[in-house]
């Protein structure tokens, strides 16, 4: 019988040495539940603050841009508070998650929304050719493939599983550092300069997700 426990149980993923000096800002905006991101950071021994204060965000060592919800209302909220400009100017390591990834792209088909344009990539809606085989949203655990050798993805098992819940996806691009297949290939993780973005939820992706968050905090 195939033993599927091998990686899960022999993994030696350690938690970060608590570094009280490191400041992590989690951007607060009108997106869905961000508690789980904060809890995941807490499990890693990191101190994170949920904030929409530009000064706190600018002063942070790492910035996380979570997200769940709808693109056009999220963009409107960000613009009203000038967080769009702040995000574009940020120099420290920045991680967009789920809707956070989509908002960092150029344009989303979700209510025809112009997004932040950090990644010159378009976000499209999944169109299932066969609804029996492919349901939308894409919900559940799927593999990250073709991982680029980068610090964010170090020490991960081959084709690691991560948890997805989404109806829109970013197309493949030169900035794709990991891809996933559902109906077709799409960008699982994007990277450009100090910006990273992940479509799946690292905070809900078991030990793999914890490792990715830990790698991000170590950048």
């Amino acid at each position: 019988m195939t033993d599927v426990r091998c990686w899960v149980f022999t993994s030696d993923i350690g938690h970060l040495t608590p570094d009280n000096k490191m400041k992590i800002a989690v951007i607060k905006y009108n997106s869905g539940n961000v508690q789980s991101v904060l809890y995941a950071l807490e499990r890693l021994g990191a101190n994170a603050e949920l904030t929409d204060d530009p000064e706190v965000i600018r002063a942070a060592d790492k910035v996380i841009f979570p997200g769940q919800g709808e693109a056009s209302t999220a963009m409107k909220y960000l613009k009203e508070r000038k967080l769009d400009q702040l995000i574009a100017d940020i120099k420290q390591p920045f991680l967009g998650v789920c809707l956070g990834l989509q908002l960092l792209c150029e344009h989303s088909e979700e209510n025809d929304t112009e997004c932040l344009g950090i990644f010159p990539v378009r976000v499209k809606r999944f169109l299932p050719e066969n609804s029996q085989e492919f349901k939308v949203p894409h919900v559940g655990w799927n593999e990250l493939e073709n991982l680029t050798d980068t610090p964010l993805l170090k020490d991960l098992p081959a084709n690691p599983f991560v948890y997805y819940v989404h109806s829109f996806y970013a197309e493949l691009s030169e900035f794709t550092i990991a891809q996933t297949h559902y109906i077709h290939d799409f960008s699982g993780i994007l990277h450009r300069d100090n910006y990273y973005a992940m479509q799946a939820h690292p905070e809900k992706s078991g030990l793999v997700g914890e490792k990715i968050l830990e790698n991000f905090l170590s950048l």
Binding site: S36, E42, S131, V165, G209
Partner: protein
């Protein structure tokens, strides 16, 4: 490849895990937070918590439990039981739940599905349907499966999908507690007709039953309680079996 999900269900009463055989006889199976952590470490893909005694004044106790669970585990989990308003949903999502499930409230007021989906997104709204076959016809039941309605199960499943549910949790009351296998025929019919994922529940007794529900039943996920709580089937063992049988699961 998107994998099939294995979901242990923890029925909660007064902060403890219980599992009813046909929802009547309750047995105590441990501390929910501890069990959640064990399942998460063993490779469960998601968890479902059903508060079978949920009333408005117990909402706070449930929210505290949800927060404890959210802090302890790193996989998604759904909370259900007595949820009837948009406020209830907000309260539990803020406490740390990833999804909520509604059942009787949706039957009594179907519009609540649209409202919840519009407010929080379809991805976190699971509609649970309890079904029982009466003289060859599948009818939706409420109140833990005790009360029959005039709704046909297939039509109701389509309606909740159209109203914006993100997933359907289909429990066959005829199979629940029997350990004789899932309701594969009905599941297959509903899963094939709908564009959203279907979680199968009721009847898990052996590893083969899981293979059958993913193949014949066309389920996207399978939920079970007592066989996991009483260690009749281990999750690593079950996943190993499914891999050998050609069912794609998360390793």
């Amino acid at each position: 490849m998107l994998t099939k999900r294995i979901i242990p269900c923890l029925d909660i009463k007064d902060g403890r895990t219980v599992k009813g055989v046909n929802f009547v006889e309750l047995r105590d199976a441990g501390d929910p937070v501890e069990l959640a952590k064990i399942y998460s470490d063993e490779g469960a893909d998601e968890l479902v918590f059903l508060d079978i005694t949920a009333t408005v004044d117990k909402r706070k106790t449930l929210a505290e439990l949800v927060t404890k669970v959210a802090k302890a585990i790193n996989i998604p989990f759904t909370v259900g039981g007595g949820i009837s308003t948009v406020e209830d949903v907000k309260f539990l999502l803020n406490a740390g739940a990833d999804k909520i499930s509604i059942n009787s409230a949706a039957v009594h007021n179907p519009q609540i599905i649209n409202e919840m989906a519009a407010e929080f997104g379809s991805q976190c709204i699971v509609v649970a349907i309890d079904t029982r076959n009466i003289d060859g016809i599948d009818f939706v039941h409420t109140h833990g499966g005790r009360k029959a309605t005039l709704l046909r199960t297939q039509a109701w499943a389509q309606e909740v999908c159209d109203r914006g549910a993100g997933e359907i949790l289909l429990t066959s009351m005829d199979h629940d507690g029997t350990k004789a296998g899932f309701s594969n025929e009905l599941l297959s019919e509903i899963s094939s007709a709908l564009s959203i994922p279907v979680i199968a529940s009721g009847g898990a007794g052996s590893m083969e039953h899981f293979k059958d529900v993913f193949t014949f039943g066309k389920a996207d996920a399978a939920l079970a309680a007592s066989i996991f709580h009483f260690k009749e089937i281990g999750i690593p063992e079950l996943k190993g079996y499914l891999v050998d049988e050609g069912v794609s699961v998360r390793k």
